[in-house]
Subunit: 254 residues, 2 copies
DNA sequence: CGTGATGTTGAATAATATCAAAATTCGTGG
DNA sequence: CCACGAATTTTGATATTATTCAACATCACG
């Protein structure tokens, strides 16, 4: 437990044997093309908590994908305040924010120790140009990234803290499920403060929100471990339903 | 004043003579290429207030650019609530939200009568593939679009209504200036309600915010006409400065 | 078993939403 | 040019909600 030894085999094996295959760039790409992709993908030593993949102003040399662990992307304003603009789970591309300008507008910070794949963007574009499937995958992944940004905005326009929090947890749950983890037993990789800066709320408000959800029997909280007890209700709350009349009492059927 | 006759000449002339030339897709494209672009650009009859360019779920057939007038893009949730996710001034591409999925996630509504150019996306991709300059322009414009989304998020994470409003006005001012209109005399094309739904605030809060800014001598408000009297102060307010110690007193010089 | 970081809780304060009404603007037609 | 009505905007009073400052609890880790 104390040490997570680097799985050298996994490192060598490449995309073809990665558990994220179906979620990451390689999804739906043929065997040969996969090998070409493998050639340009760099697998790096584990990244430690707090390490950065890139900083604001860096050129967009590579895009990154975590095979495990988690990252946050943050915007640091002139006065040093940190604004969290996204969280990244395994299989979700990191670093596309520089697509427009060629320069990163944010920085990517590791929330946990993580193993990441680095894909040099020039090479990727080159390979993608010759592999229609990869080109399509790239667009798909970019689209997903834009979609997550939209989700974030949909969270932020909500005026009630409870809605934002419910929306956040529900969205995270969906994403965990997508990468093969339990949707109802989340181990949050980020602090309450990170969540607060992501939701545009005070840290204490987030904490209280969690407590409230627990009191209402929607979730169970143990620090960063969150168990979702009533997914339907969580979703209801995420869409403006007040604490008024949850169709409880032997809930989901009638 | 009562009638704005359709300028047939302008309609015929095409991109080469459009006043938006340097801001729109054609910027920096050679004469011949411009003609090829012209061939695929459709110029439509004026769009009336409230008309939609596309709706949620529509396929991304075209992208649009207003030559004059203004649009909003809105997200309509299941329960019929409207969320404003963007405003579009002349020269700003509309309809890129569908890039990822191929389907529009939002709908584009005319805020004023407007003349728009429609660019069929398939054709555009085709032409762009053969014109490196256009390809680059397209990326630039997409990047700008993503940038405006980021700006919106940066507005929404602000916790003070006054900051959001200041940020909104300041950003709008910059964009007006970019299209050759006075930066300090804005004719807002959108209602207070639209602004509220864009900023994630109650309509009344927006109104009060405007009034407050007027009382503080930062702007002058006459309905939808807003004059910016102290741009520096507006910018200061946009970045968390309280009403504490504005370096006022014979303001702008010292 | 301390110790610093992280998370929770409480009380007072400040900000915003909500409900209601008045004022203004704008388009339209006389 | 003026008057009218509908829609928009502003303003007021009040209730809700979130923030802030502070203390306390808990967790992770050495």
């Amino acid at each position: 437990m104390a040490t997570t030894p680097i799985d050298v085999l996994t490192l060598r094996r490449g995309c073809a044997h990665c558990t994220l295959q179906q979620l990451c760039l390689p999804a739906g790409i043929g065997r040969e093309e996969l090998e070409r992709l493998d050639e340009i993908v760099k697998r790096k030593r584990p990244v430690e908590v707090g390490e950065r993949l890139f900083r604001q102003g860096d050129g967009m040399d590579s895009v990154f994908v975590a095979r495990d662990g988690a990252f946050k992307t943050v915007l640091v304003s002139e006065d040093g305040e940190e604004q969290v603009i996204g969280f990244h789970l395994p299989g979700e591309l990191i670093g596309l924010d520089a697509l427009g300008s060629g320069e990163h507008r944010c920085e990517a910070v590791a929330l946990t120790r993580a193993n990441v794949c680095e894909v040099p963007f020039d090479d990727l574009s080159g390979v993608a140009a010759r592999i229609p499937g990869l080109q399509r995958q790239l667009m798909r992944v970019i689209g997903q990234s834009v979609g997550r940004d939209q989700d974030h905005r949909e969270i932020l326009v909500r005026r009630q803290a409870s809605e934002r929090i419910a929306l956040f947890l529900h969205g995270l749950s969906e994403r965990f499920e997508k990468i093969g983890q339990a949707a109802d037993r989340l181990r949050l990789p980020m602090s309450r403060e990170d969540i607060a800066r992501f939701l545009g709320l005070a840290l204490e408000t987030v904490s209280r929100g969690f407590t409230r959800l627990q009191e209402d029997g929607v979730i169970a909280v143990h620090g960063r471990k969150v168990e979702i007890l009533d997914m339907d209700e969580l979703q209801r709350l995420a869409h403006g339903a007040e604490g008024d009349a949850p169709p409880k009492k032997g809930a989901r059927s009638g």
